[in-house]
């Protein structure tokens, strides 16, 4: 059992908010891919972002790291604790200084996320030296620290592993290396984009465990992006449900998954709840197919597939809830009819 020792850096203690995203809007060419995305994450909080293809969940993660394509039009604001400026519209140099230090990311595909021609240890050490500043660029120290990190993420023989090339490691081991890179500088925010989708169930379990313990030890904020509801439920405390480039529902995991309000969330939960359906019997479904990115209907993005849609759904539903982190945007929310 490895304890991920975090070298806690003095952070702005006045507020526990790590990430604050306000009205994030992304357009690429004629496609409007993200609409008014607003959410925030506090220190030590683990937030899940659920969405199917085209929902804009990966785009959101890239926006957080300032890695959107050059020709994307971004508006809104992304503030990160400890960073004095808005990430939206920031210069590439400033963003580069933040990436890997204040915010780090774990991507989906461990097989291709590492440079095939560079030793694993060097790839870990690199992220340390990049952000070490002029004084701290001691290669040897960085390498030693890299081995230490590889040990912490549970690679057997971390010394040997550091000298290995990526192709010599299995998928799960590679993803551990990626996690080690992400955690190397004790970021205040870790973004994971489908980090275990490509992995086997048993490997997934260990990587999830690793991520959760890694962020807990650092008291870091986690944004965990996935399409798998049960993974979110297992890992996160709070959840954001995205569909068609919007956040359609948000709240504590137990709340949202027990009592979904948005019709999409409701349908999604029903369709994926194989446990409660009769074996071999029919499953509840959402009709139609997920439109491709940027081609969702206006008004309520879900209305083209929603059984409850009426004319009013052609207008954009307002956010119903106490704050952006709690509530939903639906004209005909579930639970309402029960109440009525």
């Amino acid at each position: 059992m490895s304890v991920l020792a975090a070298e806690t850096r003095p952070k702005d203690a006045s507020t526990s908010r790590v990430l604050d995203v306000q009205g994030l809007d992304v357009r690429l060419g004629r496609f409007h891919l993200l609409h008014d995305v607003t959410f925030s994450i506090d220190r030590g909080e683990r937030v899940g972002l659920i969405g199917e293809s085209g929902s804009g969940k990966s785009l959101t993660s890239l926006a957080l790291l300032g890695l959107l394509p050059d020709d994307a039009h971004v508006s809104g604001s992304i503030r990160l604790a400890g960073v004095g400026h808005d990430l939206v519209g920031a210069r590439e140099r400033d963003l580069a200084a933040i990436r890997g230090r204040d915010v780090a990311m774990v991507f989906q595909e461990p097989m291709t996320a590492l440079n095939p021609t560079m030793r694993v240890g060097d790839q870990v050490a690199e992220v340390i030296t990049i952000h070490a500043g002029r004084g701290g660029r001691d290669k040897r120290a960085a390498r030693a620290r890299a081995v230490e990190l590889l040990d912490q993420v549970g690679l057997p023989d971390p010394g040997d592993a550091a000298r290995a090339y990526p192709h010599q490691l299995s998928g799960g081991q590679r993803q551990r290396v990626v996690v080690a890179i992400a955690l190397a500088n004790d970021p205040s925010l870790l973004v994971c984009d489908e980090p275990t989708t490509a992995l086997d169930v048993t490997v997934q379990a260990r990587v999830l465990d690793l991520i959760v313990r890694g962020v807990s030890a650092r008291d870091a904020a986690l944004l965990f992006i996935t399409h798998d509801l049960s993974v979110v439920a297992t890992v996160c405390e709070r959840v954001l449900v995205m569909y068609g480039g919007r956040v359609v529902e948000a709240g504590p995991v137990t709340e949202v998954f027990r009592r979904p309000r948005h019709r999409y969330t409701q349908g999604l939960l029903a369709a994926s709840d194989l446990d409660s359906a009769a074996a071999g019997g029919r499953l509840p479904t959402i009709r139609g197919t997920v439109p491709s990115a940027g081609t969702f209907p206006d008004g309520c993005v879900f209305r083209s597939r929603c059984d409850h849609a009426t004319e009013v759904c052609a207008t954009e539903p307002a956010w119903a809830g106490p704050d952006p982190g709690n509530g939903f945007a639906c004209h005909h929310p579930a639970g309402a009819e029960r109440a009525s």
Partner: protein, 315 residues
């Protein structure tokens, strides 16, 4: 690793054997009697026959092949039918000339292609990148000899800055050597550079799409540094292949530029000996070229083992 090297060496040897047979068989097909060509038009049949015997042309093909190969392996390339001079030193002299030309041109091509191709890839959707890309396409479309003729017209004949043609060995007159080298190297290098630029561009574009570049940027490397530290080594693999092939094929391919600039290179030597039907000479040159191409490819293969650790199968 050792296995990989052995395997490639075996392939190299097999390729050499097969290609030597091809070369020899091809020579046997050449029309025109070498003895007749060597003796001139009015030689009597008797003297032609005598010459054929002297050349060994009357022996069975197999024995001709065997003795040729036996000599070749000892780098005893034999004696020219026509000039009756040892062949090996002549080829070496010409090879030196061509190597100067080709190597300088390739260096120039690289100096042009790597920065330009990178800029074109990084700005592939911006106007500056598109303009450069269009320019490189035009460069690819210009026949090298036309480029040579234009260079001569402008810089030698009109401006009189540099000699129009000729060749002086570097040890004889270094200044004249350099002055004479500039235009042919430009003609060859610019065109090769345009070709290479396209490869560098496409290779870097490919690499830029790789996930590990995204990882590098997520680590906090700027786009340029990410490319330098993680992209170039990977992008180099296909570019090295083209470079090696260009280098090898230019040994003969430079002949057109050699013609324009009156440079006594290997390509010109080959053309002359083909015309002379100096069969053994031609065989030797062609075989050496094939050897050069195969060796270059062999070295490139080994180079890959160094560049790309994935090819070194873990033990």
């Amino acid at each position: 690793m050792l296995l990989q090297i052995l395997r490639r060496t075996a392939t190299l040897v097999a390729s050499l054997v097969v290609s030597s047979m091809l070369v020899f068989a091809f020579m046997a097909l050449l029309p025109g009697d070498p003895a007749r060509v060597a003796l001139g038009v009015n030689a009597s049949e008797a003297s032609v026959a005598q010459m054929r015997q002297e050349f060994g042309l009357d022996r069975p093909l197999l024995s001709q092949y065997v003795s040729w190969m036996a000599g070749f392996i000892r780098f005893d390339l034999g004696t020219s039918y026509v000039s009756q001079v040892e062949i090996a030193p002549q080829i070496i002299d010409r090879l030196q000339v061509t190597m100067w030309l080709v190597v300088c041109a390739m260096v120039l091509a690289l100096v042009i292609a790597v920065p330009l191709g990178t800029v074109m890839a990084l700005r592939h959707r911006k106007p500056s990148g598109l303009v450069l890309s269009a320019l490189s396409q035009v460069g690819v479309a210009v026949p090298a000899f036309l480029a040579g003729i234009l260079l001569i017209t402008v810089f030698a004949v009109k401006l009189q800055w540099l000699p129009a043609n000729g060749w002086t060995p570097p040890n004889e007159d270094p200044v004249q050597f350099l002055r004479q080298l500039i235009l042919p190297v430009l003609a060859l290098g610019l065109v090769q550079g345009a070709v290479l630029t396209r490869y560098v561009r496409s290779s870097i574009l490919d690499v830029q799409r790789e996930d590990y570049i995204r990882t590098a940027r997520a680590k906090g490397l700027g786009a340029g540094r990410a490319l330098r530290r993680h992209g170039f080594r990977n992008a180099a693999i296909p570019v090295v292949t083209v470079l090696a092939l260009q280098l090898a094929t230019l040994l003969i391919g430079a002949v057109v530029v050699e013609r324009v600039f009156v440079i006594p290179g290997l390509g010109s030597l080959l053309l002359d000996q083909v015309a002379n039907r100096d069969l053994i000479f031609v065989q030797d040159i062609v075989m050496l070229l094939v050897l050069a191409v195969l060796l270059v490819n062999f070295v490139v293969d080994l180079l890959y083992l160094v560049i790309d650790p994935r090819l070194k199968v873990a033990t």
